[in-house]
């Protein structure tokens, strides 16, 4: 049967995905979070990163000695999460994920700029800030010091800490908006964005228009930072607007149709950093997973996508 064939094929996926989702590891992290006193949260920390690759067997680094935490061959045994100043970051090694983020394939010590914070293991996630000096540090990413990318040193291991999403320990359903995410990427005006492009589902290739014209970018920036008009909402509210009232037996079809409408939009900054938005033109929503938010697209923004990117 076809579904059995798919289920069988699923059984052969890469080991890294199976290990990443190991239920035992998930329950261990949950136990750690229950013990934490200053992050009051009894549920699992979640990180909705854009297209972040997970661990590869051989780490691309000059340093191979083991650091702290659960390491095998100098590599953390599971995707490590960092909570730092209202945001979650994920340790990232995979070359394709680094490339999608606009980062170099090889993480070397000279990418570490100014010291930012000391970290310790523990809390709701794997690393949290501490005032004590430890062998785990966050540094600015020297080529582009922003809140979107840091370099993490754990012992002798260096890796990228990539911004996943904003996070509020006392309110796990909280969301923010695209304007806030621009600040993470050090975008303070339109000139800080160099291109806006439509990519394939894998975020590897530009498949549609790539907008580099400053006036078009300025208009996009203006339309997406006007918080009085570009209404943002969380997942629950979005779900009720789009899917409430659809009978249960029709839900799969409705979700299929929604998924079919997806267009991936890549924003690239002057520093070469990249992040991705999800646009659903027929539903009128622009999703920003970094912000855990959906934005109702204004008529002007819809027109911008139609005119500049031919997305209808």
């Amino acid at each position: 049967m076809k579904n059995e064939r798919l289920l069988d094929a699923f059984g052969q996926i890469d080991d890294e995905f199976v290990e990443e989702a190991d239920p035992e590891k998930r329950k261990k992290v949950k136990k750690k979070s229950n013990k934490n006193t200053w992050i009051k949260w009894g549920a699992m920390a979640a990180c909705l990163c854009f297209a972040v690759g997970v661990l590869v067997p051989v780490m691309n680094s000059l340093f191979n000695a083991k650091g702290g935490g659960d390491f095998q061959d100098g590599v953390p045994a599971e995707p490590a999460l960092i909570y730092y100043q209202g945001a979650l970051y994920q340790c990232c090694f995979a070359e394709d994920a680094l490339k999608r983020a606009g980062l170099p394939a090889e993480i070397t010590v000279d990418l570490a700029g100014e010291h930012v914070a000391y970290l310790e293991m523990g809390g709701a996630v794997d690393y949290q800030e501490t005032i004590t000096e430890t062998d785990k540090e966050l540094f600015q990413y020297a080529p582009a010091p922003t809140r979107a990318v840091y370099i993490l040193r754990d012992g002798d291991n260096y890796m990228v800490a990539l911004f996943c999403r904003t996070y509020y320990p006392d309110d796990k359903d909280a969301y923010t908006d695209l304007a806030e995410i621009y600040r993470f990427f050090d975008i303070s005006d339109a000139s800080d964005i160099v291109s806006i492009a439509q990519t394939d589902w894998n975020r590897e290739k530009v498949t549609g228009a790539e907008i580099t014209e400053p006036s078009a970018i300025e208009e996009f920036y203006s339309l997406t930072t006007d918080i009085t008009r570009l209404v943002s909402m969380g997942n629950d509210e979005f779900q009720s607007i789009v899917f409430d009232g659809i009978p249960e037996e029709k839900q799969p079809e409705a979700h299929n149709a929604f998924a079919d409408d997806l267009k991936i939009i890549r924003v690239e900054t002057k520093d070469g950093l990249r992040f991705y938005l999800q646009y659903y033109p027929n539903y009128g929503f622009l999703e920003c997973t970094h912000a855990m938010a959906y934005h109702m697209v204004t008529p002007e923004l819809k027109l911008w996508f139609e005119t500049n990117m031919d997305i209808k």
Binding site: N3, L7, A9, E24, A43
Partner: protein, 186 residues
């Protein structure tokens, strides 16, 4: 005992390899089998067969990740047993539910698609999984590799069951789109 040491026991043909493996991964493999078979005795059989197979394949195999190496053996054995016994009518198993859900991401037949071999299908699955945000990927793998119950996934990720269902629905929809785009016919 770390994995390297356990594998060395297999290489030396020491019987302690089995006991060490069972000690470290017995619970993990049992979890994988039980989600598929929902029967203690059958699950235990699968787990024991897993040790037997590990003994017969290491060496020459030298798995990089012993847990997933064993988990995959157990999963395959359990699915084979499930198909043979057709146990979906027996209370509460996840396998029938998961198979129903996977029906939703079977690509529609087209005029130009070619039948695809399993290797290509797995490549496409890997590429698709790599493109997903980490949490969604983990939820997807929990459901379709580990066959974990939706309620358990919700508990472990600290989200509601309906949220899990929505994530699964949307992700299977995306997978369907990808399979169709790649011209894959099952």
């Amino acid at each position: 005992m770390d994995d390297r040491q356990i594998i060395e026991l297999y290489n030396e043909r020491s019987e302690a390899a089995i006991s060490e493996t069972a000690d470290k991964y017995g619970r993990y493999c049992h979890y994988v089998a039980y989600n598929i078979l929902y029967n203690e005795q059958d699950s235990e059989e699968c787990v024991n067969d897993t040790w037997f197979r590990a003994w017969n394949t290491i060496p020459p195999q030298q798995p990089n990740r012993l847990s997933t190496f064993l988990g995959k053996i157990t999963r395959n054995l359990a699915l084979d047993k499930y198909k043979y016994y057709n146990r979906e009518k027996r209370g509460g198993g996840q396998t029938a539910l998961v198979l129903d859900e996977l029906n939703e991401c079977l690509p529609a037949m087209g005029s130009t698609e070619q039948a695809v071999n399993d290797r290509l299908l797995v490549e496409v699955l890997n590429s698709f999984l790599r493109s997903l945000p980490a949490e969604k990927r983990q939820i997807f793998v929990r459901r379709y590799w580990y066959l974990s119950a939706v309620s358990e996934i919700a508990e472990d990720f600290g989200i509601s069951e309906s949220n899990v269902k929505v994530i699964l629905l949307r992700t299977t929809s995306k997978l369907k789109k990808v399979l169709e785009k790649e011209g894959i016919v099952l």
